[in-house]
Amino acid sequence: MTTTPKEKHAMGKGMKRKEDPRFLTGQGNYVDDLVIPGMLSMAIVHSPYPHARIRSIDKTAALAVPGVKAVITGEDLVAASLGWLPTFHGFDKQMVLAVGKALFQHQEVAAVFAETREAAMDAVELVEVDYEPLDPVTSPFDAMKDETILRDDRDDKTNHIYHWESGHRDETDAALGDAEVVINEKVYSPRCHPAPLEPCGCVAQFDAMGRLTFHVTSQAPHVYRTAISLVTGIPEDKIRVVAPDIGGGFGNKVPVYPGYVCAIVGALILKTPVKWIETRTENLTTTGFARDYHMDVTIGAKKDGTVTALKVKTVADHGAFDAAADPTQYPAGMFGIVTGSYDFPVAFTELDAYFTNKAPGGVAYRCSFRVTEASYAIERGMDLLAGELKMDPAELRKKNFVQKDEFPYKSALGFTYDSGDYAGTLDHALNLIGYDELRKEQAEKRARGELMGIGLSTFTEVVGAGPSKHFDILGIKMFDSAEVRIHPTGTGIVRAGTKSQGQGHETTWAQIVAEELGLDPENLLVEEGDTDTAPYGLGTYASRSTPVAGAALALAARRVREKAKKVAAHLLEAAEDDVEWKDYQFSIMGAPEKSVTMKEVAFAAYTNPGEGNEPGLEASLYYDPPNMTFPHGTYIAVVDVDGETGEVKVRRFLAVDDCGTIINPTIVQGQVHGGLTEGFAISFMQEIPYDAQGNNMAPNFMEYLVPTAVESPVWETGHTVTPSPHHPIGAKGVGESPNVGSPAAFVNAVMDALSPLGVKHIDMPLTREKIWQAVRDAQGQKAGD
C-alpha cells in the first residue's frame, strides 16, 4: 500500500519522536557528558546563614588541598569588575559571589577550582569564612515595614521593589460597592521549584585565539551569549554558546546563574577548561524558584451569578535579588490574565514585590510568566462565588464565559484574546466525564457522610511571548526565527532559535516544515541550541516555541515554496502565475496531471534552476507575532477525602485542552500528562518553605517531594480545536496549560469534598496533615456550636 502525501506529511500525525533512539540507548549528549582533557572541576562555597556580614574569607587551607588550582571570592570578582550580573528582569542586578553580606541561605560565597570533583568538594569545606549572623527577614509582610533594609547596595533604602497595577481602581471599587454579592479570600500560591532531573551545569573553554565555547544547560542560548558578553566584556563574536541535550528545564534553565560566571572566570584566569555541575541541593536552594504570590481575591456579582467586578491585590516575595524572569515591560509577567475565561465588565489588579532573605528568582515554572498564580486565583474565586450563591460551579462559569462570537475579546485588564469556545469545551468535558452522574453519586455519598469532591477549572492561558512592542528580555525583543535549507535530493536541515528540553522539537519542527513543503519529516534534520549555527532566537519557555518559532518555521518554509514555485514553473514550462501548490506538489492550474514534486524541484534548484532563477533552495525568517495566543481548557478532578486521615484519593482527572491546531497529538498528550503531574505535585506535596530563621526547609528530594509513579494519578485527556486566527498554522502552544489549569481543579475538588463541613479554603500544598487539621477544626466548631 502506498502512503498518500497527506498521510506521510500532514501535521496531526502522532509520529514517533526522531530524537528518542539516542536517549533510549544512553547516547544523549548532556552537558555533564562533555569531557575535555585537562578540564578542571568547580565547586561552590555556600553561606550557611540567610543574612550575615562576611568579615573575612581565608583560602589558605583550601588552596593546600592537593589538586586545587584556585579559589575566587566576591572581592576578587569586584576587583576585576565582574562582581555583579544583570538579571533578565532588568530592574535589578545580582551579586555573582557575596560581597560584604550574604543575603540568603546557600548564597554563593566562593568558587573552588580543582583537578577532580572530589578535590574541589574537599576544598569547599576548608574555605574559612568568618560570618557575623544578622537577623533575617523571611516574610514579605515583615519586609514591607522597612525596619531592616536588606539591600544596602541600592540607593532607594527600601525593601519594596516595584508596584504594578492594571485596570480601573475606582470603577472596580464602585462596582464592588454596588454588588449584590461579594466574596473575598486570601489565597497563597506557595514557593516551589521546577526541579528538572538534570541539574544546571556548564563547561567553559577558551581556545588559543581567546574564543569562549560555553556548553550550558540553557533554554535561551542566544540570550546567554549576549548576557555573557555584557557581563564579561568579551566581544559577542568571541563567544559560542551551545545548549546540547537538556534534561528538563521547566523555566529553571532560563536565568543566568552565578556559577556560570564563575566557571567562565575560572577558565579565563586558569587558561584551562572548567566544568561545573550543580548538586541537587544547589539546584533547589539557589536557582530559579517559582510562585510565592500572596493574593487577595475579591469578586462582585449579582444574585443570579453574573459577575460585575474583580479585584486582586498581590504581595510577591522575590527573595534577595529581583531575578524574576519576566519580560522587562511586564514586571508581574502576564498576571493580567487574572480575569480568566470570564467577561468581567471591570477589573483591577495590583502587585507589590519585596526583597527578603530567601533565594532570588521567580521563574515561569511551566507557566507563562505568572499565569499559574493568576489562573489559580480566579478559578478558586469562581468556586468560592459558586459556594456563596449555592450554584453549580459549571453553571456559574457558563453564565460568565466570554462567548465564542465575542472574539477577538478585549479583557478588562487589557489583553486581546484571539479565539476560543469556552462553553463548547466545558460541555465536551462534562459529557466525557459524566458530570451529572458524578453529582448524583456525590449527593448519595454525602447523605452517608462520605467526603467526595468534584472540582472544575475552566482556565484561559496566555502564551507566545511575544509581540516586540511589549515583550523583551534585557531589551532584546522576543521574536523568534527559523532557517530552512533543502538539499538537492529533497532532504533538508531546519534550524530554529528555540531549544528543546524534552518537548520534541526535532520531530514537531520537522512535521511543520514537511507539511508546508510536501517532504518527508524523517529526512528533515532539526538543529537548535548552537549560537554558531542557529538563527538568533529568544529560546524555549513559557509555551512560546510553537506560537512564535512554529510560526517562523511555517513562514520560512512558505518562503522556500515561493522560490521553488519559480523553478517548478521552469520545469513545467509554464508561467509562474499558472502554477499552483496543490496536494503537496506543484501543478499547472486546470491540468493537475502536469505536476512536479518538491523533491524534483529541489534537484532542479541546484542543477537546472531555469534562466533568471536564483540557484539553491533555502530561506530564513524572523517572526514578530502580532498578538499572543490564548489556549484554554476545562479540567475536572474527582476526589475522595478520608476525613479520619486527611488522605485524598484522586479518583479521576479529565483534561480537555484546546490548543488550536495540533501538530503531533502524541507529543501534545505527553506534554499534558507531564504538566498535570507537576500540577498534582504543587497541589498536594511540593513547597520550598523557609522557617522563621531563614532556613530552606526543602533542600533535597527527601524534603522537596516529587510525585512517583505510585501516587501519580491516571490521566484522561480530550481536546477541542479552535485555531488561532493570527498564527500561520493556527497553533497555540500547550506545554504550560496542564500545570496552569490543574491546581485549581484539584483544590476546588478537595474544597468541594469538605464543603459540607463548612471548610472554605486551605492553601496548597494540600497535605494530609492540613486536611486532617481542617476537618478536625471544622468538627470541633460544629461540636461547639
Binding site: T25, Q27, A709
Partner: protein
C-alpha cells in the same frame, strides 16, 4: 595548559576492575568514589546523576543480571567482581531491546534524562515479574522520578515490553516444541 601533577594518593586508591556489559574496565579509585561516577569515567555516559542522594533513580544500573541498584549510592569498590549492566548494554539504535522499543512506541520519555534509570529498573523487574499488573509496575518504579511524562506512558511501555518478552518466550517454546515433536503438535 595545566597538567595533572601526580598527587599523594597512592595509598588511598584502589585498583578495581569493573565488568560492565560484558567488558572489563580497570580503574584506580578512592574508596569513597561512587559507582555512578566510576561508570561514567569509563566513557559510558548513559548512567545519569540527578540527585546524589539515591532519591531520583537516574543512576540505576543492574547488578548480576537482575538487581537494580542506585549507583550514586554504592561505592565503586563494592562493585568489584559483579556483573554490571547499563543502558548501553540493552540495545543500540537500530537494534533496540524490546523495552527501549516500547518506551519509543508509547512515548514513555521526553527529556530522556531519567530514561536510562527507568529502563534499567524495568529491566530488572521483568527478570522477576513477567506479567506484572499496572500497580506492580508503578510500585517497582517508585524509586525512579520523572518530571516530564507523568508516568502513564511509562507504565504502558513496560507493559508492552512485558508482553513482547512473554510472546518472545512463547515463540521460543513453540519452536522448541516443534523441533522436539517433529512439528506434529
Amino acid at each position: 595548559m595545566t597538567t595533572a601533577e601526580p598527587t599523594d594518593t597512592a595509598e588511598t586508591t584502589h585498583r578495581i576492575t569493573l565488568k560492565i556489559n560484558g567488558r572489563a574496565y580497570k580503574q584506580d579509585v578512592e574508596p569513597r568514589k561512587m559507582l555512578a561516577y566510576a561508570i561514567r569515567d569509563t566513557g559510558l555516559r548513559g548512567t545519569h546523576v540527578g540527585c546524589d542522594s539515591s532519591s531520583c533513580g537516574c543512576c540505576v544500573v543492574v547488578l548480576d543480571g537482575d538487581t537494580p541498584v542506585k549507583s550514586c549510592t554504592m561505592f565503586a569498590v563494592q562493585a568489584e567482581g559483579r556483573e554490571i549492566t547499563t543502558v548501553e548494554g540493552l540495545g543500540a539504535p537500530g537494534a533496540l531491546h524490546p523495552l527501549q522499543q516500547a518506551f519509543w512506541d508509547q512515548h514513555g520519555l521526553q527529556c530522556g534524562y531519567c530514561t536510562p534509570g527507568m529502563l534499567m529498573t524495568s529491566y530488572a523487574m521483568l527478570q522477576h515479574h513477567t506479567d506484572p499488573t499496572d500497580q506492580e509496575v508503578r510500585e517497582f518504579l517508585g524509586g525512579n522520578l520523572c518530571r516530564c511524562t507523568g508516568y502513564n506512558n511509562i507504565v504502558k511501555a513496560v507493559q508492552q515490553a512485558a508482553q513482547a518478552l512473554r510472546d518472545d518466550q512463547a515463540g521460543k517454546l513453540d519452536t522448541l516444541a516443534a523441533a522436539a515433536t517433529g512439528g506434529s503438535q
